[in-house]
């Protein structure tokens, strides 16, 4: 892995001037994606913040080929693009030395929920693609509605904190492990706060000849409700409190990539964000306790996974 100084000198595939919010975590991902690799990449995106803010006709932020068709089908769309590439290459209509890679982007709504079937199909069929889910934990583009990625207890416009219901009362779906169940060679969870972890995982995903899945925690200023200069800090705290572990399944070896030196209480992450403000009312202490229980429970699960899929002895 190059250092940041070297990466900054590499050519861009994604240009500034897009209309994503100040403090949005998403643009970090495409910027790094193009910088970490020498592959030529074709990108497909699901409908969502990323797509609408970067392709407002007649402008585009994409210096490289980009396609969007609908919301629930980025994985199917990129499947078609990749299938055409394989076909034309086999027929000799694309030079044999021209190696292209294919990346699909979807938000958590477009991936965990409405796009899950299309994602599963693409992973099962084994296309040479990297699917990147930018997970900001709700339908942010339509105005912060709950998705199956929304954290337990979070207030959204369709799971509002009310007088009797303290926000979303369901646990987040564990999408990366669902992707893993397709027995693909690479699946990982990472966060924009950890550029090195993110860059390494993007590179690994691209290097595989086959499907790879990467779920990236990406902070959302209006959805999470924190000051726009705090994006990286808030995301880092999700990792430091153990709410968002960084892990990967790499060719059958399961690794937790980062262990906080001192695992902070999850409340330290919750209190930074307006979407959890209601949980600090005395009557909702039990919700915070439940979130902490879920975090601890998940780390136990990760430990089991590491035991089950250890690195081969050196």
């Amino acid at each position: 892995m190059a250092n940041l100084k070297e990466l900054s000198k590499r050519p861009d595939g994604f240009s500034p001037g897009h209309r994503l919010c100040a403090g949005c975590g998403i643009p970090i991902i495409p910027k790094l994606l193009y910088k970490v690799t020498d592959y030529d990449i074709v990108v497909a995106s699901a409908t969502g913040c990323f797509e609408v803010a970067t392709t407002i006709y007649p402008y585009t932020s994409w210096l490289k080929p980009f396609v969007h068709s609908a919301f629930e089908n980025a994985a199917a769309t990129i499947s078609g693009v990749e299938a055409m590439y394989q076909s034309l290459k086999k027929q000799g209509k694309i030079p044999a030395n021209r190696k292209l890679k294919f990346v699909a982007f979807g938000g958590d709504g477009g991936t965990y929920d409405i796009g899950l079937q299309s994602l599963s199909g693409a992973l099962e069929r084994g296309h040479d693609i990297v699917y990147i889910c930018y997970d900001n934990g709700a339908y942010m583009n339509t105005g912060i509605q709950r998705s199956s990625a929304t954290p337990y207890g979070a207030s959204t416009t369709t799971s509002p904190a009310g007088k009797v219901i303290p926000g979303k009362m369901q646990r987040r779906k564990d999408l990366t492990n669902i992707a893993l169940a397709h027995h693909i060679e690479y699946a990982a969870q990472t966060a924009v706060s950890h550029w090195n972890d993110l860059a390494t995982k993007l590179q690994k995903g691209l290097d595989i000849d086959g499907p790879a899945f990467i779920c990236v925690m990406s902070p959302c200023v209006p959805g999470w409700m924190y000051p726009s200069d705090q994006s990286i800090e808030v995301t880092r705290m999700a990792v430091e409190t153990g709410y968002w572990p960084l892990f990967e399944m790499d060719h059958g070896v399961f690794r937790v990539n980062y262990r906080p030196k001192q695992k902070l209480p999850v409340a330290d992450w919750l209190k930074l964000q307006g979407r959890f403000r209601h949980l600090f009312r005395p009557e909702y202490t039990y919700v915070i306790e439940e979130i902490q229980r879920q975090v601890d429970d998940y780390w136990e699960y990760l430990a089991h996974m590491e035991q089950a899929f250890p690195a081969p002895p050196k």
Binding site: D40, V42, A44, E51, V52, T55, I56, Y57, P58, T60, W62, L63, K64, P65, F66, V67, H68, S69, A70, E72, N73, A75, A76, T77, I78, S79, G80, V81, E82, A83, M84, Y85, Q86, S87, L88, K90, Q91, K93, I94, R98, L100, Q117, S118, S120, G121, E124, R125
Partner: protein, 393 residues
């Protein structure tokens, strides 16, 4: 050299697909079109085509993958029916709006509910506003010929729109008929190579496709799509002329049967036309001047040509194998009737809804329609603007 075969509508479509040899085909099984993909899969497995077959997990993904593949810059085909096409609905509009030349073999089947696997036209007629060109086929030969012509129409630089080729589920798709196949190289020469205007895989000329298009541009792009539809009509005619040169089989925007000297006429698409022609022969022997117009093209709707062909009639019955529930009549009837409105002396035009869910259109039904037309022609009056036939009431 043409090869004479006895085969089904589905096999004919699969064979046309083999000869077209698309770069990518993405599809999902659904009755009654399944056989098209089964047979095509065999061609892939045997290596007689170059196609990369993407066996997706739903029709929505089938059309999405077709869109991705076509945007990537190659030739793309698919096949489906009824509910499968309904699941593609969102993507049908997107394929057309992105101006992608995708060709679909559509084996017409009734939409649920109640669930039914047999023929009617609720699938394709429902998609009439989606921006797809629609070609209808009376029999296996026409389905085969239309599919081959569809590639040229779809890829024409003036058009660049997706095309669906429709044939009747089971009635045609599963019935064996005599027909003629072209040689592979004749088909390949006829369709030629495809050179896309924009291609995602052209890394040196990067494009952004599927942009967000707001109030400042959307309507201009839709206007261009409307223009492409208009330009499709002469292209369809020109492609048909070339096809006739090669095969001797003439195709236009529609087919007529004893229409020129007719006093009354029937309008019907697809396989019903075969039955109607038979009954017209019966009536012609009795001296009754009845004729048929069988549209090949429903989208674009060639208004002027239909008016010219039908304007001299005293009375017309349009048969719709689909209902637009709550509308004045079936969709084809409404459009034909509206087209004739500007004539100073216009035919009395009524409609019948028939054959939903695969109910047969029998001899007696056609006789009922013609007998009524004769009465209307004499009296100038009709009993009902639109009624169901082939139904127990």
């Amino acid at each position: 050299m043409a090869k004479i075969v006895a085969t089904t509508g589905n096999s004919a479509m699969a064979y046309a697909m083999k000869q077209i040899n698309p770069d990518v085909c993405a599809a999902y099984p659904i009755t009654p079109s399944t056989q098209v993909m089964e047979e095509f899969s065999k061609y892939v497995a045997d290596g007689v085509v170059n196609t990369n077959l993407v066996t997706v997990e739903s029709e929505h993904s089938a059309m999405s993958a077709c869109i991705g593949a076509a945007a990537a810059g190659g030739r793309v085909l698919t096949a489906t029916s009824a509910n499968g096409m309904a699941l593609m609905w969102e993507m049908l509009y997107i394929a057309a709006g992105m101006r992608l030349p995708i060709v679909m073999a559509l084996v017409n089947r009734a939409l649920s509910a109640p669930i039914n696997i047999h023929c009617d036209h609720s699938d394709s007629f429902g998609a009439r506003d989606s921006g797809w060109i629609q070609l209808y086929s009376e029999n296996a030969q026409e389905a085969y010929d239309n599919l081959i012509q569809a590639v040229r129409i779809s890829e024409h630089p003036d058009v660049r729109l997706p095309v669906m080729v429709c044939q009747d589920g089971f009635i045609i798709s599963h019935s064996i008929e005599r027909m003629e196949y072209l040689e592979d190289d004749e088909v390949r020469k006829f369709i030629g190579d495809y050179k896309p205007m924009y291609a995602l895989l052209d890394i040196d000329k990067p494009v952004t496709l599927g942009s967000l298009d707001l109030q400042d541009y959307y309507i201009e792009h839709k206007r261009q799509e409307a223009e492409a539809m208009k330009l499709a009509t002469p292209v369809i005619t020109a492609v048909a002329k070339d096809f006739e040169k090669m095969t001797g089989r003439a195709y236009g925007l529609f087919e007529t049967y004893h229409l020129d000297d007719a006093e009354v006429g029937i309008v019907a698409v697809n396989s019903a036309a075969g039955t109607i022609k038979e009954i017209i022969d019966q009536y012609r022997r009795k001296g009754i001047k009845v004729g048929l117009l069988k549209p090949r093209l429903y989208r674009p709707f060639p208004t002027e040509a239909y008016v010219k062909a039908l304007g001299h009639l005293k009375a017309i019955t349009v048969l719709d194998r689909v209902d637009s529930f709550g509308a004045m009549a079936g969709p084809l009837m409404l459009e034909v009737r509206a087209a004739l409105y500007d004539l100073p002396k216009r035919p009395v035009t009524i409609g019948k809804i028939y054959g939903l869910g695969g109910r047969d259109l029998e001899e007696s039904h056609c006789q009922y329609v013609i007998d009524e037309l004769v009465q209307i022609a004499a009296s100038g009056k009709y009993r009902e603007l639109c009624e169901y036939i082939t139904v127990r009431e």
